[in-house]
Amino acid sequence: MKKRGYGIANMWYGIGNTANPNPSGAFVDFLDDGTAIVLTGCADIGQGSSTVLAQIAAETLGICVEDVVIVSADTEVTPDAGASSASRQTYVSGNAVRLAAENVRNQVIAIAAELLNIPTETVSLSQGEIWNSDKSSGMSIKEIINKCRSKGILTLGHGSYNPVTTELDPETGQGIPYATYAFATQVSEIEVDTETGIVEVKQIVAAHDVGTAINPQNVEGQIEGGCAMGIGYALLEEVILKDGEIQNPGMSTYLIPTALDVPEIHTIIIEESEISGPYGAKGVGEPALVPTAAAIANAVADALGIRMYELPLTPEKIIAAIKNRKEVEAI
């Protein structure tokens, strides 16, 4: 018999290393033709950090994203940006790039204010132009950088950022382990076959507070991918050991979800702006996965009326649990 169940799970996730320094640095070189090079140690492993950092630099410098080149993760030319882990790169390296870009921007603004003879406070950079309050000055950023060059000023910026945390007391753990947290709620709908023990995830709703979503499509991609990995964690995946030896060291024996195993995922982005984040951003990489298995386990418990205490929720365990309850009830 097929039974349906619903489960809900929340999560929180501290952005950056726990109660440990994890600084990131960046350099920005704003060039005479109005393009920019960003040097960052941040490794893009597929999550899209280079794109996000390019967006942050472009926004800050007032140019379009196509005019930014990211040079990343090369120890000879890029500064240390720490690891692409702990969901920290948008927040930490994003801040480093923002600060480096602001550094250059301020130089450009100072020269522009001088040339236009207006106060620096009213000058801004946007769409490749110099703006005076909400009006274009008619002068392009390129012209200003050329002016800088002719005066012998290089428009180079550097920035670094380290999240504000404290050490934790070794006995009580009291302190500030993270500068900011991402939050999420996921709701899953599942169907479980009480004879085959197969659990089918029918839908997942995933609402994630990521701070400002610098690139919403990337955020959605992280959430969808996290949910898929969470489904694997909940139902399929287990490295099986026998006397310390992996019994399933291959993709035909260690099973991850296929396109047919991942249901529709309804993503909702909540943007609870983080004042210390670059343009209000926090992070999403890990949070995407964290509550998924919990929500599925709660849905299975809802469907069966049996709580499972061991991941993954394999058909064998589910059948054993159902049998076990029948035996208990029979006594």
Partner: protein, 164 residues
């Protein structure tokens, strides 16, 4: 060991090579022809990263020996873009954000191409089935499926452009 004289068409170009017959099609593509867009992920036909099109059908190039492709036509990811212009499948993947780490992407795009050749108006379920032999660990597949849906509509509007 006797060499095998292999003749096949790769991305439309005739190729003739004397090879060790124990080489897989994947090895010939990557190591001899330097077509490294075809990836090896598992070596046992599970992940689909090594997918190529063999005479209009999608196959895992790690599962067949190169001589088995003798006399046949192979299309790899490098054979899709024409004069540097991306084809509709590649364009659609970019538009919807179907690419993250990108390692499964060539295989996925080739799977999409085969699907749309056989079935120009696939349902979501048809698409999921067609890419069920291509594992992706990053995206959760949603944007890949969406990309293929868009490629289908792009192909329809640019029917003449399609080089399929």
């Amino acid at each position: 060991m006797a060499q095998f004289h292999l003749e096949m068409k790769v991305n439309g170009k005739p190729i003739a090579l004397d090879i060790d017959p124990g080489l897989r099609l994947l090895d010939v593509l990557r190591d001899i022809l330097h077509l490294t867009g075809t990836k090896e992920g598992c070596g046992e036909g599970e992940c689909g990263a090594c997918s190529v099109i063999l005479d209009d059908e999608l196959v895992d190039s790690c599962l067949i020996l190169a001589p088995q492709a003798h006399g046949r036509g192979v299309i790899t990811i490098e054979g899709l873009a024409l004069n540097g212009e991306l084809d509709p499948y590649q364009q659609a993947f970019l538009e919807v954000g179907a690419v993250q780490c990108g390692y499964c992407t060539p295989g996925m795009i080739l799977a999409a191409r085969v699907l749309l050749n056989h079935n120009p108006k696939p349902s979501k379920q048809d698409i999921a089935k067609a890419i069920s032999g291509n594992l992706c660990r990053c995206t959760g597949y949603a944007k890949i499926v969406q990309g293929i849906e868009i490629a289908a509509s792009l192909k329809e509007t640019k029917a003449g452009v399609s080089r399929a």
